[in-house]
Symmetry: C2
Subunit: 320 residues, 2 copies
């Protein structure tokens, strides 16, 4: 069955002198904020600098001066932004960035990016753009248009892997798989040693993990089913350096990289992206909020014919 | 402004001993059939064997024993199938094939392929499949499941070209462009000499042409605007042989081929697809109705970074 793994994401920095997100905001607030977009909190971990909530649809991370929420499926993440503004006031927001990946079941979504931008600009003037071609993998970004300037060391790395190899898909859809099996399969100990982990195995399959260490975080969301597999990684750890390990495990037919403030993007990808992959899209844009954004989509060319994907034709088929 | 060029297509063969589509069916019938899916007839041409109607959203071709309708935009083509069945009875249908390309503004469509299949199977039992990866260009095909077997010489060729080069996009979006300029630009005289042509230049841009000669047909639909350009070709003339001319004019960043009953697909594409392009998807499937279907998606790898696509942010922006 198809599941829309594509995420929407909001990052809100607050005026930290007015509001401490760790001290002044209760867990009940975050629970309600998550409910507003049609998700719920499954579990959480925390350290002195960060709280990480694992959600029924992806993740929420809270630091003292900002929070980050990613939601997949048919969530309406702008509802959560509206809740934040209603409860804490738009003036607490120092800077907002909203990002949305293209979907494959777009007709089932409660809104499109244009709808989201219309609602956000009722509160916050901003700029909207697309990274990647319309007819290929792409991400939309909306960001607040104010005098905020991002610090050059405020870096984010995202990997979106599609069509993972049959072995990986078979492994990750095995019945009765334990969280620990998936941690080992994804080589988490090698990728992020000494991180605190919080993970969840969905039924019949699917996996999410939040990992934190100090201010560092990594979150991975796995939609493993063959034919529509999708695995996303987001972190402030340099994922381009970890790409060879990740690609060796998943062997995706296609993957995207999206990075904020990685000035060595080309040098690092030249080193880390295997030569078998070719670039379909390469986009670089300096945003007026100071972020340098790089987006790249890579594919693995094929010479092999495969068969068509055949669907069951009945009234209850949700794949079509 | 974005326009959804992606087509839906229906081909219906009739029991020709019971019904002659050229002699027994009036132009008023076709006009109404087209209106039902939310399009209209702009003009038509005919010869002894074929009538070709140019539509506000693509094309309709009628031969004595079958018809073919392609519609783009936000049309609901299954409405037209229902009209045909209401008026002429489901028993006149010898075989039906419904095809639908993935859309980029899927949330604006009146239905998804799954909805269409549900409606079609109320009248006609059938099979549904997808050619191409979910996260890449793909086409859905639904076909009637009965004892019909396609003739081996019943061949169809489709090309879908995306992200045409800047020169082609600039040329095709020029103000005041005449149909003849576009015919020359597309090298129609070289592609299909001695065909009868019927074409239309849309405002502010966009172009459609129907071409017929005997039972042969070609139709081209041009959505030329930079950033979301899309040009489709469909014909029973061998378009793989013509591909070098077409690619030389359009230089698309990506294109797809979809062919019915071309048994030499690999040999022909090896000869006609320039080496610069690599295959992202290659699909081959023999359908139970006798058609051999090949689908291939090619991309032009890039080493060049481009800038993001920036959108105007206001309430009236329909691009988002």
């Amino acid at each position: 069955m198809f599941f829309e793994g594509s995420e929407k994401k909001v990052e809100i920095l607050v005026h930290n002198e007015k509001l401490s997100l760790l001290n002044d905001v209760s867990d009940a607030f975050w629970a309600e904020l998550v409910i507003r977009c049609n998700a719920k909190i499954l579990s959480s971990i925390r350290n002195a600098e960060c709280k990480a909530f694992l959600l029924s649809e992806s993740s929420l991370f809270v630091w003292d001066n900002y929070f980050l929420i990613l939601t997949c499926g048919e969530t309406n993440l702008v509802n959560s932004v509206e809740y934040f503004i209603e409860q804490l006031g738009v003036d607490t927001i120092k800077h907002l960035t909203y990002q949305r990946k293209n979907e494959y079941y777009a007709h089932a979504q409660p809104s499109c990016f244009g709808d989201d931008v219309k609602r956000l600009t009722k509160y916050i003037p901003g700029k909207a753009m697309r990274f990647g071609a319309m007819d290929s993998h792409h991400n939309f970004i909306f960001h607040q248009d104010n005098d905020f300037k991002a610090a050059t060391d405020d870096k984010t790395y995202e990997i979106f892997a599609y069509q993972i190899c049959h072995d990986a898909s078979n492994h990750l859809t095995r019945h009765g798989l334990a969280a620990n099996d998936i941690r080992e399969f994804l080589k988490l100990e090698q990728l992020i040693p000494d991180f605190q982990l919080d993970d969840f195995v969905f039924q019949p399959y699917g996996y999410s993990v939040n990992a934190i260490r100090g201010r560092q975080y990594l979150t991975i969301h796995v939609t493993p089913q063959a034919d529509s597999s999708y695995i996303s990684f987001e972190s402030n750890v340099n994922l381009i350096d970890l790409l060879p390990i990740i690609l060796d495990v998943l062997k995706p037919s296609s993957f995207d990289l999206l990075c904020y403030n990685e000035t060595q993007f080309q040098t690092l990808t030249d080193k880390s992206v295997p030569q078998d992959y070719v670039s379909q899209s390469l986009v670089q844009q300096k945003l007026t909020n100071g972020f340098l954004v790089n987006f790249a989509n890579y594919i693995l060319p094929t010479q092999q014919f495969t068969q068509a994907t055949v669907f069951e034709v009945d009234g209850e088929n949700h794949e079509l």
